[in-house]
Symmetry: C2
Subunit: 492 residues, 2 copies
Amino acid sequence: MLKKYDFDDIDDRYDNFKRSNLGEEIDKLQRIVQRLKIPVLILVDGWESSGKGDIINDLTRELDPRYVKVELFDSRSDVDYLHPSVWRFWQKLPSHEEVVVFDQSFYSQVMNKDERSSDKLKQRTEELLNLEHMLLDDGTIVIKFFLHIKEKTQSKNIEALEDSKFRQFLLSDNDYKQNKNYEEYLEWFGKVLKKTDVPESPWNIINAEDRKLAAKTVLGITLEEITSGIERVTLARERADKSDRKYYIEDTQLDEFDLSKTISDKEYDKELEILQKEAADLVYDCYTKDIAIITAFEGVDAAGKGGAIQRLTRHIDPRSYTIHGIKAPTDLENSYHYLWRFWTKFPKDGDMAIFDRSWYGRVLVERIEGFASESEWERAYDEINHTEKVLTDHGSIVMKFFMYIDEDEQKERFEDRQEEPDKNYKITEDDWRNRSQWDEYIAAYEEMLDRTHTANAPWYIVATNQKKFARIEVLKHFINHIKEHLSELPES
Amino acid sequence: MLKKYDFDDIDDRYDNFKRSNLGEEIDKLQRIVQRLKIPVLILVDGWESSGKGDIINDLTRELDPRYVKVELFDSRSDVDYLHPSVWRFWQKLPSHEEVVVFDQSFYSQVMNKDERSSDKLKQRTEELLNLEHMLLDDGTIVIKFFLHIKEKTQSKNIEALEDSKFRQFLLSDNDYKQNKNYEEYLEWFGKVLKKTDVPESPWNIINAEDRKLAAKTVLGITLEEITSGIERVTLARERADKSDRKYYIEDTQLDEFDLSKTISDKEYDKELEILQKEAADLVYDCYTKDIAIITAFEGVDAAGKGGAIQRLTRHIDPRSYTIHGIKAPTDLENSYHYLWRFWTKFPKDGDMAIFDRSWYGRVLVERIEGFASESEWERAYDEINHTEKVLTDHGSIVMKFFMYIDEDEQKERFEDRQEEPDKNYKITEDDWRNRSQWDEYIAAYEEMLDRTHTANAPWYIVATNQKKFARIEVLKHFINHIKEHLSELPES
């Protein structure tokens, strides 16, 4: 894919174009994608000292500066290392009114020579490709450039930087290493580019020998790809609701689930505090071992998620966890991929995050209320499984609780809430309305349990008709899950 | 203020209260402050090993977990050091639907023995006090606790932690240092507590010898202070528009300002690129010296802020700066102190942030449109001066450009925009409406220039009737300001 003789194939289509014309065109296109709420992500990669900075500057100065951002990804910082490696890219994605340029692309991580021998290479590449696919599926326009220069040109550029009082700090060991082992890198870059070429967002190899022409070509290709991107995304939006869905659950879980289990008050009082303290100790243990814990709670209204969370955290150091009550997304959150608001909340290693409702909203309320189109929530199962796998592959603990009550029990609890003045605020029209969709919710829960119960991130279905029983159950699952995880760790 | 014999004055008012009653009360109060949009900030400080974690846990478990957060502030991280020391507190403030507990209080920074000999001590204390006052003025309820224990109790607690497999990691050098030099710390803590006692948010010294009673007392005092806080804040809101404002500007700047200055096309072409490259080099220089640059652009609509910013940044490495176009605050932004959205955007050392409109909106559009009450924008002048001083005291460069055009020139530019199809999107009804308030805006600009032009963060008034002249002017001011700043740095 990347060859020495790429330099003979100079793309000079844009040579005779006036920069100012290209600038005006791109300015208009930016307003169009903004109006259509299409995020644009431009990944710029290439050889060290190939002029990325200049070319990015040339591109971005034509765009409305209020809606364009350049994000620099060089070496990972402390906090980056406390998260899965894709985490830092999630934090900087474009919202649907922005154009964001990544310098360098997320693939630079696997292009870097030092990581190529790593046994994580395959996993990393897949995670990154998966991220790109998620963005494309979500209607982001992704444009990828690789700036290609000759070995000699790289030497010359390095020398020029060495001589520049103000710019010499831009040089790093990498520049010299690449130049010294140019052939080796050439071959490797070629492999990575081939592996990460995607039909909707192919790599554009830019001959950057002539920087001015390269800058114009980048501008021209950006124009072309934004245009075809608009077509792709608007078409996909039109088709979004025409999917021909077939999904049959073989083993349903909920209809035969035993909801009658109870515990006596005496037993409850005896067990509760012991379990709470054990849970707290295990969380301390994970803290000292730098393991993040992520738990999600789902269940119908009044299933007792809040109460169970309160009992779970009773003795846990409040400085070590955060509880996120997930409500309808805000306008800001809606301007990103639906998983963005969770990626910004996933805890760093050693911390715990508890989600009272979670990313599963995509296949529950958003499915049932039609906030997500069928193709959107249909592909969410895979996206969610993948995301949880990224987290557990990183070493985090992920567990999910489904708090299950039956229709009668919910009705009783609703009536309770309505009668007690102090609990009255808890019940709204929405709750009664959701109740009327009971069967739809149960079907959605069944499918969720069927498709997203995984070995690495299991669901625990908790019989919640009796609250006390449920609280003890949650604690026991929590404790066992963490214990098992810790017991499987390699000796350090 | 903090004395040994504080231990005799046990506050046992809450001893006979039932925890569950206190819990129910606080739960109700939380819903009230949330409905009234009053943020609550609880600062918990005290001796090491005095049981802060337990007591905070006891407090927060009574609150709705979706709206309560505990933020741990121990040693500053890498990124904290790349900002003024108050920066990290700004990032974690409560929104107006949250209760946030800081462990430890921001004052712990000056309580820490190692910083007490620092020559920055006075400045730090003032910055922190100022932060607290800004929050109080903005209608935040601030509640402060200091957990006090005897020397012997501290030794005992330390021993207990040493023996605990899961909790021993909570011990740090500080615990031992404090215990070894108990008397010395006692005196110092007393001084700091006295200095940072504020009428609206006095320190509550909690006798934490008996942890259970202490936890109840903290709960009880929180209840009392939230109640009195609600009264204070609602009263202040009612009075907000009854201020009796008097402000006369002696030296008006704008009416005699020479707007006729121009530059020839030839001169412009000759100077522009040279200046742009010089600006770029200086930004590189600041980058290598870890100096942040913050520039704000203000001016009436169509004054040419965007164009000037584009020319300024032409040769600056796009990876080193971000341009923030400031629009009306979002709902999320409105749920915080008005300066919060700028504190989350101030650059880290070495980076540059350019604000196209800025925090001055408080004394401009928010003043004129009545989005801020008179007392709110009136006190904003001081708040802004203080904030800019925090930034420059930290070593950052702050400069502000006022792009000035006259009424006729604006009219011409509006008409231009309306006629050209490509610029049409730039003009809205709002623009014409703002124009009808020309005199009010000019008066507000005059007062802003008069009250916030400071030696550390000056305003540059730029005659903008001819765009080319203005662009050159901005570049010259930018270059001179940075050069001057760099020349005044101590030799390193």
